[in-house]
């Protein structure tokens, strides 16, 4: 392990300790076993959307559609359960909807060469609209008790809450794919220089499509876990995913130098700790957006290598402008 990585790891652990200490002092419950479990539960549900987004950021694209797609996928799962389908086909159906949306995003952006931001905004609006199609927007909770979807939230595997278990599995898989496989290197190559990647035999379009599929699929999974926790599916399943997911990826990338699976894990942990801490202190929910956006801006600004250069430039321009002619 090289020195730079140790420093970055140290900075991350220091942030965990500082945030833990601040909230630990302000609230006696923060460091309790139950609350630490609650932090990981938050990471494993809402926080999991950041894991898929990592792939899109690695290929240097943006995706703003995943909250809408999460709602559509989660409502699809809810509807399938209400229609009496067993749990696994229902979840698979929801995730399949997410995959289809991801494929459309990916094709539109990599093959039709449409701009990513606007295309995904449009896709998000369409997917969000479609989440109303089953019930006209009403919550769906028929068969939820019998189907076993609530058990995903309540049961444990290997001494771990199921959502946390699945989160660890997903992170492990994502880590293996992105960092320990030949296939995964292609994502970074696509992001760094698509032309060079193409001439090196990397199927650039495929990687862009794969990244959008992964984002949509994990977002739907996050939406389904949200429904499992709430005991019902409703079109607000993806609300509030957007800013925290971007903040997790960028905070992680800022800490570790570039976007990666471990970096997103670190970013999500910090974001979840903060959101949980403020909830414990009964800070109203509407402050959380402000806190996360300040974290996001600070992350991209302070850790940006150009930050120092930009500051220097500003100082230089000022002194030049002020200099007597």
């Amino acid at each position: 392990m090289n020195r730079a990585l140790l420093m970055r790891l140290g900075a991350f652990l220091a942030m965990v300790v500082v945030i833990g200490a601040i909230f630990g002092v302000l609230s006696s419950q923060f460091l309790s076993q139950n609350n630490i479990a609650a932090i990981f539960r938050h990471m494993s549900a809402e926080g999991i959307a950041g894991l898929g987004l990592t792939f899109v950021i690695v290929v240097r694209r943006f995706d703003l559609s995943f909250p809408g797609i999460a709602a559509f996928g989660a409502m699809t799962t809810g509807q399938l359960i209400a229609l009496g389908y067993p749990l696994f086909p229902s979840i698979a159906g929801g995730i399949a909807v997410g995959i289809v949306c991801g494929v459309i995003n990916g094709l539109a952006i990599s093959v039709l060469k449409l701009p990513d931001i606007v295309t995904t905004i449009a896709m998000g609006s369409i997917a969000y609209g479609l989440s109303f199609i089953y019930s006209n927007g009403a919550t769906i909770s028929d068969n939820f008790m019998e189907s076993g979807i609530l058990d995903i939230n309540d049961q444990t595997i290997a001494y771990l809450d199921e959502p946390i278990f699945f989160m660890l599995v997903l992170y492990l898989l994502a880590w293996l794919v992105l960092h320990r496989s030949r296939f995964g290197r292609g994502f970074y190559a696509t992001g760094e220089n698509p032309r060079a990647a193409m001439f090196s035999g990397v199927h650039v379009r495929l990687y862009v499509i794969a990244a959008f599929i992964l984002t949509s699929a994990t977002a739907v999974w996050a939406g389904i876990l949200h429904c499992a926790e709430a005991g019902q599916a409703d079109p607000s399943a993806g609300d509030g995913f957007l800013t925290p997911a971007f903040a997790s990826v960028y905070l992680g990338a800022a800490l570790f130098g570039y976007a990666s699976v471990p970096a997103t894990f670190a970013g999500t942990l910090l974001i979840s700790m903060m959101l949980n801490g403020f909830t414990l202190l009964s800070v109203p929910y509407y402050y959380s957006d402000a806190i996360i956006s300040v974290v996001l801006i600070s992350a991209i600004a302070v850790f940006d290598p150009r930050f120092a250069a930009a500051l220097q430039r500003i100082v230089k321009t000022r002194s030049l402008a002020g200099a007597p002619k």
């Binding site: 449009a122 609006s125 956006s293």
Partner: protein
């Protein structure tokens, strides 16, 4: 700001060809067809009250998206504009209820817009931070503050004051706010087409480095377009307070997709594939007519969400393909 950008400019070359002509005027054609279709389907569509309502809502949206047009024309993105409108809406509502007069409260709403606009411009123009992430964060921040003002809920305003009287003012059948919007757009059109400023905007979109090399103050221009976008949004927010007789912290959501759809669909008009103010104005009118007409024939909000998303996709496809066409034609000519 340097004086050179306010000098008159030579007209930009305009492409010719039947295909371009068709694309360029297709939106106007669609607009006329849609208006005729709704007038036939629902006779109450053409009632004076309904037209008045369409004009007022189109005016408020139009003012909100005017600045956004230039942000997109300069090749940047702003997804904080609708939250700036929500923030300004809540600030005005909160302060009017706290006993401030309408003019003072409106100034405070405007000041919030100036603050967010300068922040966006500084972060994107000077720090060169990614525009999407920056405005995502500043937008979330503005939304959060808007919610804090009402402690999470909306704020009723009993007296809509001078802004309310302005919204009710009519010149003949035309609402005064529509006249104001048209004047603002005419002024913006003049600045965009006849002054060097407009050329710089489109030049920045083409090649920012070249613009910097040519000695154009690109950073200050970036700050200016973000500032304009936020100020326009804040003015729209003030009008929203009066129009809704309340402050709505979550009002931003409904303008997000509309704003981008209007600007990009508007990019089809006149300047092929380039956002421009006349195009935005026409697209805003089209959206307002669609919203009103589909409501009359009984569509719900989610059906309109799908329609707007589809329109945005169509707009973006036409813009991208429309711009690609002349380039391929040139390449074909070279061979």
């Amino acid at each position: 700001m340097s004086d050179t950008i306010l000098q008159p400019a030579a007209p930009l070359g305009v492409g010719r060809g039947l295909r371009q002509f068709l694309v360029r005027y297709s939106l106007a054609g669609i607009f006329i067809i849609v208006v005729l279709a709704f007038s036939i389907l629902r006779p109450d569509f053409t009632r004076a009250e309904n037209i008045n309502e369409i004009l007022i809502s189109a005016s408020i949206s139009g003012i909100m998206f005017l600045g956004l047009t230039w942000v997109l024309a300069a090749g940047e993105i702003d997804i904080s504009f609708m939250e700036v409108a929500a923030l300004s809406d809540m600030i005005v509502a909160g302060l009017v209820n706290a006993g401030w007069g309408w003019p003072l409260a409106a100034c405070a709403g405007l000041a919030a817009g100036v603050a967010v606009g300068l922040l966006n411009g500084f972060l994107v123009g000077y720090m060169r931070l990614p525009a999407l992430i920056t405005t995502l964060a500043t937008g979330s921040f503005a939304r959060s503050i808007a919610a804090v003002i009402g402690l999470g809920s909306s704020v009723e305003v009993a007296d809509t004051g001078i802004a309310g009287r302005f919204l009710n003012l009519h010149f003949g059948f035309l609402p005064a706010v529509a006249v104001l919007t048209v004047l603002l757009y005419a002024a913006a059109w003049f600045v965009q087409e006849k002054l060097v400023f407009g050329h710089y905007l489109y030049a920045m979109e083409q090649n920012r480095n070249a613009v910097v090399e040519a000695g154009i103050p690109a950073r200050r221009l970036t700050v200016l377009v973000y500032l304009m976008s936020a100020i326009c949004a804040a003015i729209a927010g003030i009008l929203l307070t009066a129009s809704l007789a309340s402050g709505q912290p979550r009002i931003g959501v409904s303008f997000f997709i509309d704003g981008l759809t209007a600007v990009l669909l508007g990019g089809m008009v006149i300047k092929l594939g380039q956002p421009n103010v006349l195009g935005t104005l026409l697209a805003v009118l089209l959206l307002a007519v669609l919203v009103s007409g589909t409501a009359l024939i009984g569509w719900s909000d989610w059906e309109r969400d799908i329609l707007k998303g589809a329109l945005l996709l169509i707009g973006v496809i036409i813009v991208v393909k429309g711009r690609a066409a002349p380039a391929t034609a040139q390449m074909g000519g070279a061979h």
